[in-house]
Symmetry: C2
Subunit: 135 residues, 2 copies
């Protein structure tokens, strides 16, 4: 069995930035939905790419943000070590041309589907835990 130790905000964002992949959690037709995506962390914003086909992109308009959760973890159940970070915040389309061009360059989609939207998630609420082997 392992213990959970709470992590500070900075450490959480550092861990999030250290992995390429996380999971975005949102509401789709009134049901909870989750999709694995790759991300980058730019200051206080998590940046992901999404296709318009997923309702996340169609909900997250530039002015009307939608609240999502974003989770990443690295957990080794055998060694009882690892961490998990959850960010909750407003998600909105990135429309600024300079940022858009930079994110499209730095964040290669991991599947060959049309990833026609870049979405920024504000790190409004950041929680994380480190797993340590229990005494």
């Amino acid at each position: 069995m392992a213990s959970l130790r709470p992590l500070g905000r900075d450490r959480c964002l550092e861990l999030l930035a250290s992995v390429p992949l996380g999971r975005v959690v949102f509401t789709l037709r009134a049901l909870p939905a989750i999709r694995p995506v790759n991300h980058l962390v730019d200051g206080d914003t998590i940046v992901i790419r999404s296709s318009l086909a997923t309702s996340l992109a169609s909900s997250a308009t530039a002015d009307g943000a939608v609240v999502v959760a974003y989770e990443a973890d690295a957990i080794d159940l055998v060694r009882r070590t690892g961490w998990t970070v959850v960010v909750t915040g407003a998600a909105r389309l990135v429309l600024d041309e300079e940022r858009l061009a930079r994110y499209e360059r730095e964040l290669e989609p991991w599947v060959d589907e049309p990833m026609n939207c870049v979405i920024g998630i504000d790190c409004d609420l950041v929680t994380g835990y480190e797993l340590t082997p229990a005494g």
Copy 2:
């Protein structure tokens, strides 16, 4: 870049059962919430343990089920291989004494917090994708 190939229901549940850990997605105070947990798959039910402190357990009463999503994945972004499975279904407390005793025996909590509730998630909607290197 990789391609996503849809997987059948049986293969999805087989993959889910092959890993110890997933993420349960639910709504907490009107916000999307996600927690990593360990699970077992018993036929058409995903079984997890939870503490009453998480609102998932308090929402999932025996008669009043709450709809959740459950996700597991194993993705290697370097090799462009892996899979992701999402199950959506009703979650309810397991109260049957025989099943409860069996699940408590077979599903050891992975953190040393009071996991005083056993929750069964119906596999109502099962979707999954296999990642294959794009041609």
